[in-house]
Symmetry: C2
Amino acid sequence: MDPKAFHTLSYGVYVVSSWDNGRPTGCTANCAAQITSSPATVMVSINKDNYTNKCIADCGHFSLSVLSENSDPSIIGTFGFRSGRDTDKFENVAWQVRDALPVLSDSCAYIVCRVIGTMDTPTHTVFLGEVTGAEKTSENTPMTYAYYHNVIKGKTAKNAPTYIAQETEAGKYICSVCGYEYSGNIPFEQLPDDWRCPVCGQPKSVFRKK
Amino acid sequence: MDPKAFHTLSYGVYVVSSWDNGRPTGCTANCAAQITSSPATVMVSINKDNYTNKCIADCGHFSLSVLSENSDPSIIGTFGFRSGRDTDKFENVAWQVRDALPVLSDSCAYIVCRVIGTMDTPTHTVFLGEVTGAEKTSENTPMTYAYYHNVIKGKTAKNAPTYIAQETEAGKYICSVCGYEYSGNIPFEQLPDDWRCPVCGQPKSVFRKK
């Protein structure tokens, strides 16, 4: 079995959100799909270790914010490489309540769902949601997972189904929080002290030389 | 609810296949995703009206052939706009048996699965499969659903979850089988008589003027 075969599957990049006792929480996800058109249903797959999984199960509703190529890539790090258990992920991002659920402003569409079914798997729960609200909010191109990897050079969180231990070129600087590999034209050492990881927003000090 | 929001979700283009009493059958699908990495599991969503749905349920196994941007687009029509009930869809395509399942040769990867779970929805069955074999067979770029729509100008089959009744520009020639809208430089009337729809392979005679 060649794990590279799994990399040929195509995905988008989303933030799946819910309420945690009145506080918004959420996580980055790449596995979301429309399942039926009438009634409109959408599925998301969320790792059981993600705090968002428990919140969706408790709340019975979730929202999907669709990131675009113009979305700030630090959203992916904020929602993908930290836990909502002990972090307010929504603290520094613009968000609003749409159809009673929190959605990110810096996205090109949102879909709000009521959970009507679940499928249990060894590590993830697949939530099936009946769509209660949806809107396309910009004409920006939706971000694909391939774009995130190939253009933003982002990495995969360990809780993601697509995670495979990855090799990095020796001598490169890697963000120890999100795995982002610096590949800019300015030598890493000469970046200003207030430079931050473009994916997860962590400071220069968390980067490690491979 | 704005159905355009659903168009911002990202997908690939796949042929999902199984055995029908020893005969290969399959259908085009855009909804496939890796759900867990260890053990590796993959899900596909198949309309209950598709003959392939019954065959997967009976056989207990399915394969996923991942189409690339270099794959012959007529595969999409052959597998997406005809029924395997009364057609041998594999008759005119190259295919082989890999890990005991039929897979298409003109693809960039295949994944073979044993069904370990299902989720019922109003119109589709979500099959969860444990991966028993997988191989990346070329370096070609996997075809995304956006590429199929924007570059190949393909349409959506009525059984697909993403189907929305579509508008077509007046005066254009449309394939009555698959909905492909001709947009070549040669006027449609001047195309040779043996010209065929590049998506589903049907002859010129099935085209209708909008």
